[in-house]
Symmetry: C2
Subunit: 314 residues, 2 copies
C-alpha cells in the first residue's frame, strides 16, 4: 500500500491511497496520515482494500506524506558515512555499540517538489539522502524484536543540512539546531510489504539514486545499515514512549565503495577529496541548484516516487 | 494574564483563563493554547478582557498549559550550571559567543502534578528547574530585538534528565535523546506583563524555589542568564521558521553563589561535591521521591503556580 497527502489548505492535508502504478489516487476514508497512524490497526484493512483510484495524481501538488510530525529522530546508521563526516568535521566520536541519533525539527516536512529557502549560500547548503520509517505508538522500553511490528510505513527523506554550522554545533555536545532545518519527504509512504524482498532485516535494500543539477551524484544502497530500523526504534524508545507518527531516519545512505557508486550528500564527497587529494574542491549548493532523489528497485520501479527540490534564496 | 489547560479527554485539553489569585477560572473563547498562539493578535484582547471567573480551580487536575508542542528547544544560558556540568560529565566545550541549545522531545509535557515514570533508578533520575517562553510564529532570520515581540508567554519547566545516559550521549556530538525524556510544566503560562518588573531584559528575575522530598534544595534566581530569551529565540530562528507554539527553555537556573543558595538540579550539587570533596555523595532520585518547583516574587506570589511531581517505576 502506498499513501500520500494532498494539499487542501489545512496543515495536515488530505490522506489519499495511491494506485500501484503511482499515477492515480483515491481519497482515503481517514482525513490525515497522523490520524491513520493513531488508529492504525483499526483502519489499515480498509485503506489496503482500496482498489478503485478515480483521480489522476500530480505528484508536484503533493505535500509530504506526513506534512508535520510530533517527533523526528534521525540516526546515523551507515558507518562509511560517519567515518567520512568525522574526518571532514574534525571530530572524534567514541566508539559505541549503541546507535547514533539526534532529535530534529519535526513541525514541518517539505513536500517532494517544494522549493527550499535558505538565507545564505555561505551556510554550506547540502542534501542528505536517507530512508526513514514511521511508527505507531511505541511504549517505553520496547525491544528491537517488538519494535519491528510498530514500523507501519517506510519513507524516503532529504535531510537538509548546513555544513558551516554543523561542526561547531557538534563540538558543543548539544547536537544540531541551526545546522538542521526541516527535511523533505518523497511523495509516497509505503507499507513494508509494498517493498517485498527489498525490505529485509529492518533495512530498505534499494539503491537511492541522487542527482545534483541533473548529474548522477550517488547510488548507494540502503542495506548496509549498522543497525536496522527496528533497532533504531528500540533505541529511541528506551526512555520515552514514542507517539504515533514518530519518524525515525537512517542517516545518510552510504556504502563503503563510495568511490565507485558516489555519495548521498556533498559533505561525503568532500571528505573523500580531503582523504584522496588533501583538500575539498566540490563546493556546496548554490541558489538555483536542484537535487533529485529516487530509490529504485531491480525493475526500475520507484516505490517512494522522487524528491525533486530546488534551493532558493529566502 | 494567566492561562492554563484543563484536562477534557482530548490531547490538547481546554484552554482556560485563570483569576489573579489563581483560585478560579473561566473557559476561554479559544479551544486550545496552540490555537490561541496561532492567532495570538486576534485573540489576546478577548482573553485578557476576561474578568469573571465562575469556576473553582484545582491545579492538581490541570494538564501542562501546552500539553504538547510542535517544537521544544532548550538552551543552557546559565554559565555557572554549564561550568559545573562540564566538570561532572568530563566534557570540554569550546568557548563560544553563541547560545547553547538542543532540540528536545515536544510531543508531551507532563502536567504539574503528574507522576513521572522511569524504567530504572540506575539511569540517574534528575530534575532541572528552568524557565521557558512560548512564541508565536517567528520568521527565519528574526533579530534578537524583534524576537522579543514574539515572546507571548512565559512558563516554568522541569526538564527531566537521566544523568547516566547524558555524558555518553553528549560525547557523540549528536546531543541528547535517551537522556532527555519529556519535561513537566507548571500550571500557568503567563504573559510577560503579568511578571511586571520581574520580566527584565528577556529574563525572569524571580527566585525558583526547588524542594526535593520537602527539603529546600535550591533557590536560584533567573536573572543572570548569559543570553536573554529574545537572544535564544533569535538563535533558534536563524535557519528555520519557528512554528507558533515553539517552546524555548533557559536551561537549569543557576547562580554563581550556588554554595549558599543551592541548585536547581542534583547533578549540579554533585559537581560541587566533586570540586569541594573530591567525590559526589548526593545520590540521584529514587522511586517514590518527589520534587516541587515554584518561582516566587518579592511578595511571595507564585505567578506560574507549582510543579509537584513524584517519580514512580514504569
Amino acid at each position: 500500500m502506498r499513501l500520500a497527502t494532498l494539499r487542501d489548505g489545512t496543515k495536515d492535508g488530505q490522506l489519499v491511497a495511491v494506485s500501484p502504478d503511482g499515477g492515480r489516487y483515491a481519497i482515503a476514508p481517514v482525513r490525515t496520515l497522523q490520524e491513520a497512524l493513531e488508529r492504525w490497526t483499526a483502519v489499515v484493512d480498509e485503506l489496503a482494500a482500496i482498489s478503485d483510484f478515480p483521480e489522476v495524481l500530480d505528484t508536484a501538488q503533493l505535500a509530504a506524506p506526513l506534512p508535520r510530525a510530533w517527533q523526528w529522530l534521525d540516526g546515523s546508521a551507515f558507518q562509511s558515512h560517519g567515518d567520512l563526516m568525522d574526518a571532514v568535521l574534525g571530530v572524534t566520536k567514541p566508539k559505541a555499540d549503541k546507535p547514533l541519533m539526534y532529535q530534529g525539527t519535526s513541525d514541518k516536512f517539505y513536500g517532494p517538489h517544494d522549493e527550499v529557502k535558505f538565507l545564505d549560500e555561505a551556510l554550506g547548503i547540502d542534501f542528505e539522502g536517507e530512508f526513514g520509517v514511521i511508527v505507531d505508538a511505541v511504549p517505553m522500553g520496547t525491544s528491537a524484536v517488538d519494535a519491528m511490528g510498530h514500523i507501519r510505513l517506510v519513507v524516503q527523506i532529504n535531510d537538509w543540512s548546513l555544513r558551516t554550522l554543523a561542526g561547531p554545533e557538534m563540538k558543543t555536545g548539544f547536537g544540531w539546531v541551526q545546522a538542521k532545518p526541516p527535511c523533505g519527504m518523497a511523495p509516497f509512504a509505503v507499507t513494508p510489504d509494498e517493498l517485498g524482498d527489498d525490505w529485509r532485516n529492518g533495512r530498505v535494500c534499494l539503491n537511492l539514486n541522487v542527482d545534483w543539477n541533473d548529474q548522477r551524484f550517488g547510488a548507494a544502497n540502503g542495506e548496509p545499515m549498522g543497525h536496522g530500523f527496528h533497532e533504531l526504534v528500540a533505541h529511541a524508545a528506551r526512555t520515552r514512549d514514542l507517539v504515533a507518527g514518530t519518524v525515525i531516519g537512517s542517516g545518510t545512505v552510504s556504502n563503503t565503495n563510495f568511490r565507485e557508486i558516489g555519495s548521498s550528500c556533498i559533505a561525503e564527497r568532500r571528505g573523500i577529496e580531503v582523504i584522496d587529494e588533501g583538500a575539498a574542491r566540490t563546493e556546496f549548493m548554490r541558489f538555483g541548484d536542484s537535487v533529485r532523489m529516487e530509490a529504485v528497485d531491480g525493475t526500475g520501479r520507484a516505490p517512494f516516487g522522487a524528491i525533486q527540490q530546488k534551493v532558493v534564496k529566502a
